[in-house]
């Protein structure tokens, strides 16, 4: 999902799996296999357009430094294990974006409208 010249890997709408919000929210998930630091930077960028932004990594050991990095930022950390009954585990909860920019939100909504209206795919 394109967002301000970058791409949101997964955009979750109206779902509170990744945060304790109790109202409809938009959540960006940045998928990373290894480079969580890069994921953190990219996820930060999405805060212009979404309510919450998270980095999603495969199950791994979480270092103290890694945890502190996420806890001191608005970005959430989620681990994904496809074979588990509950595949998503929230390690560090996302905080609401205080960066949201109305113009970017509108652009994202327009992109979603295009998707919902059917996508023309270039070969």
């Amino acid at each position: 999902m394109a967002c301000l010249f970058r791409s949101i890997d997964i955009l979750v709408l109206n779902n509170n799996t990744f945060s304790s919000v109790h109202h409809p929210a938009s959540i960006a998930l940045e998928l990373k296999l290894h480079d969580w630091r890069k994921g953190l930077r990219q996820a930060n960028h999405h805060l212009f357009a979404v309510d919450y932004s998270c980095v999603c990594i495969p199950r791994r050991t979480i270092t103290e430094y890694m945890l502190t990095s996420f806890e001191s930022s608005p970005i959430g950390l989620v681990m994904f294990t496809p074979e588990d009954k509950q595949p998503f585990v929230v390690v560090s909860e996302a905080k609401p974006s205080d960066e949201k920019w109305p113009v970017a939100v509108k652009w994202l909504e327009q992109t979603i409208d295009v998707w919902e209206g059917g996508v023309t795919v270039e070969p």
């Binding site: 394109a2 301000l4 109305p102 652009w107 295009v114």
Partner: protein, 444 residues
């Protein structure tokens, strides 16, 4: 022509005419044309330079393009052939031997020994100069008569004639330096009376790190019978350089001991020109403040916002994080970010600074099939590219007209560094500190 133009723009493609005409024609003083563009469309270039903009121009002969990997000169044709581009072929034919026989006929790069014979060098230099003096005038002989009648200097004669030149790195400078020197000496003996000769010095940035090589080059070039040195340091992004490299850059300019034009320069070079250390500076419209010697491919064009206080192009997301606090009203934006004619126009069209500024970030999405699914990519709209380009041109013009004393420029750069380093991190803003240090240390 008594006024010496200081602000040049590199004409990259025909679509860039939108940044060089109309109101924007007043934002720059001269043009650099790439020789392959001239070879490909001489009539269009003559009409543009002689009729539409009527500004001093100079043709960069781009002779270095024939000394290295020839793949840089090729493209795929519709029938699947990877061949030398048509515009380059035309240029090669104009330049003749040894380039024609090596590159066009044998698909081999030219080497220093190809210029061993005096006769070969003399004829080659003659053809390269003749290409520059006749390409545009030949296409507009009627205009030439008009200028003669009016008694004004013919804008279709290049402002500088450029001697053929070849790229020198720290590995190859000993091979190419003697050739480059001979090219300039030969050109000096052949140029028409009253013409200005430029020696183009294209070097790798690594050369700046070697005092021995720099000294050898400056010694050779400072004695040459030319009017100006056109300096091009391969991929030298002034905003990415260490203080040592920037100081070496300034030392090189000063030690050349003659007027120097930076062919690809950003705000630091403009400050050096404003202080009389550089003769002139050139850049591309909306980009082109640095350039690799060899093309490295295109990529997706994205509108980048030139931030007037950081003197740097920023991706839209980064620009937004810097500018955002000033988007509470159009007046605040105009007071604190930019007052260029383009910004004044877009800010006055809608009374919401967010929406107005958002025009710089307008994009369109394209979804394409990839190996593992679909991927959506954002492209800048052509309108966003146009706005960013115009905003850039107006700001470059302002920088050239800046009448601030050097100490005020140092203060402004230091303030921009302090104000934005928390927001953007040191990497993004450190050039302000480095440039301030360089300008502070200048002895004019």
């Amino acid at each position: 022509m008594n006024h010496r133009p200081r602000h040049f723009v590199r004409y990259g493609t025909h679509t860039e005419q939108r940044f060089l005409t109309g109101k924007l024609a007043n934002t720059y003083e001269g043009l650099f044309l790439n020789a392959n563009m001239v070879a490909w469309a001489p009539a269009a270039m003559a009409a543009f330079v002689g009729e539409r903009v009527q500004k001093p121009y100079c043709i960069d002969p781009l002779t270095h393009g024939f000394q290295d990997n020839l793949d840089n000169l090729k493209s795929w044709t519709t029938d699947g052939q990877f061949t030398i581009k048509s515009s380059i072929s035309k240029l090669i034919q104009a330049y003749g031997d040894p380039i024609e026989s090596r590159v066009l006929q044998r698909e081999e790069a030219v080497l220093p020994e190809d210029f061993a014979a005096n006769e070969t060098t003399r004829e080659f230099v003659g053809r390269v100069l003749s290409f520059q003096t006749s390409s545009l005038p030949d296409e507009a002989s009627d205009l030439q008569e008009y200028f003669e009648f009016a008694g004004v200097e013919n804008p279709l004669q290049p402002f500088w004639l450029v001697a053929p030149y070849f790229y020198m790195s720290e590995k190859t400078f000993e091979d190419w330096l003697p050739v480059n020197i001979r090219m300039v000496l030969e050109a000096a003996s052949q140029i028409p009376p009253g013409s200005r000769l430029a020696a183009e010095l294209l070097i790798s940035p690594g050369i700046l790190k070697s005092e021995r090589i720099v000294s050898s080059i400056t010694k050779s070039y400072s004695d040459l019978p030319c009017n100006v040195v056109h300096l091009w340091i391969d991929g030298f992004e002034e905003w990415e350089q260490s203080i040592d490299m920037l100081q070496a850059y300034v030392r090189l300019i000063k030690n050349l001991g003659r007027p120097v034009v930076a062919l690809y320069g950003s705000y630091l070079s403009i400050c050096l020109a404003n202080q009389g250390i550089l003769e002139a500076v050139c850049h591309g419209p909306g980009y082109g403040e640095s350039r690799e010697a060899y093309p490295v491919g295109g990529g997706i064009p994205r509108a980048q916002f030139y931030h007037p206080q950081l003197h740097k192009r920023l991706g839209f997301g980064t620009a937004l994080s810097v500018v955002r606090e000033h988007l509470t009203s159009t007046g605040k934006y105009l007071r604190n970010v930019c007052t260029c004619p383009l910004c004044q126009e877009i800010m006055s069209s809608i009374d919401d600074a967010n929406i107005s500024f958002g025009r710089f970030g307008e994009s369109k999405n394209t979804t394409a099939k990839r190996a593992h699914g679909y991927m959506t990519v954002s492209y800048s709209t052509s309108r966003a590219l146009e706005l960013a380009g115009k905003h850039f041109m107006y700001n470059k013009h302002r920088e050239f007209c800046e009448a601030q004393p050097p100490e005020d420029i140092v203060t402004s750069l230091s303030a921009a560094y302090s104000r934005n380093r928390r927001k953007l991190g040191l990497e993004e803003v450190h050039h302000c500190k480095s440039w301030a240090q360089v300008l502070e240390g200048l002895e004019c």
